[in-house]
Chain length 228, copies 2
């Protein structure tokens, strides 16, 4: 989850920003004062900061400088002033971008994406691999291995196994699985599940096949050996 800290002392703007960012799927943390912002930043570093320069208790530029002492988190400064001098100072003191109010939400979002993109390319080496016992599912590579041996799955098989592996040990109902793999409108086609469960078990081999158990009348579940 991508987290963005929004700092502004005007409740109306804070609300607008939060709504716009949340709508795009970001987790938003807010702060109304410079002190509160620094507090947040010492406990949890977000993926980006949107910072209004005009706060009641502190100058935004001081916040930039303070943050830069220990973090490279991207800072996008908002300001009512179009003063050239302020801009230059803020940018030189650590701000990554400077937007003058009134600003447009799409533009702000685009600039947030730029800031995040930069961070993203810096640390790009963690491919999320789902694990469940000897079963490894490398989502970005669409590669599955069981006990080290590669398992060749079709797209639907992969989707179904990935859905189950996302919640090891938990039961996924027939409806949930059908919804996840086939999309809405297939809620009653439980036969698909039986066919695919069978195929997956066959491909995982005798050992791996045992991991996929059916809960009669409910759904399917992947045994999580670490839980036993």
């Amino acid at each position: 989850m991508t987290t963005i800290l929004v700092v502004d002392d005007e409740p109306a703007i804070l609300r607008t920003l939060k709504a716009g960012l949340t709508a795009r799927g970001y987790e938003v943390v807010t702060a109304a004062t410079g002190r509160a912002a620094l507090n947040v930043l010492t406990s949890q570093i977000p993926d980006a900061v949107v910072l209004d320069l005009g706060l009641g208790d502190m100058d935004g530029v001081d916040i930039c400088r303070a943050v830069r002492a220990w973090s490279e988190v991207p800072i996008i400064v908002l300001s009512a002033e179009d003063s050239e001098h302020r801009k230059v100072v803020a940018l030189d003191e650590g701000a990554d971008d400077y937007i003058t109010k009134p600003f447009s939400m799409p533009e702000l979002l685009a600039r947030v994406r730029v800031a995040l993109r930069r961070r993203g390319s810096a640390t790009d080496d963690d491919d999320p691999v789902l694990r469940c016992g000897q079963l490894h599912i490398d989502l970005p590579r669409h590669a599955v291995t069981f006990a080290g041996a590669p398992v060749d799955l079709t797209p639907k098989e992969f989707a179904m196994l990935a859905a189950l592996t996302r919640y090891p040990g938990r039961v996924l109902t027939h409806r949930t699985l059908l919804h996840e793999v086939w999309g809405p409108g297939y809620d009653t086609e439980t036969h698909y599940l039986r066919v695919y469960a069978s195929q997956i078990r066959k491909k995982l081999g005798p050992l791996g096949g045992q991991m996929l158990v059916s809960e009669p009348g409910i759904g399917y579940r992947l045994l999580d050996p670490s839980e036993e």
Copy 2:
């Protein structure tokens, strides 16, 4: 010496920019057309690019995208238009900043400093030659060799192979590839991919062709021999 490429088709602005940047101690290279800019960028990657969107021969956004295919050099876009849509598109296609004309020189300089500061802190290992087994791709020169022999690719073929080589061994989804090579709005044209994959395989020869494998229903992937 820090080098900055300035691209603008208006001689007066070009002169102003060059004077301002040179006065601050930067080495300035200029280009008056998109073509000229890309030419410069293939022979020498500057530390930052200042790019006017309104060029005679090409759309600035296309230049952003083209450059991003092989380099992360910071791009600061200048534009006479204050169109929100243009801003968003330019930023999403690789621009790092967007300044609306008329702009102030101190602000531009501050934003250039921001761009350079970032580059300084970033890992400086951008070797512009991608490798994957016997395949070598010299991004700035648009030159590809397989097992030492040069391979002659068209621009789209090159872009597709380069995108794949950037993540050796990893699957790039159809959508990702289409987005990378053709830009947004081509998400469903998977037929392009088939045609180009076929052409690339043919040009890479029997050995090289095997490296480009399709993951049915998902996308394409370049085999990374160093991983096996």
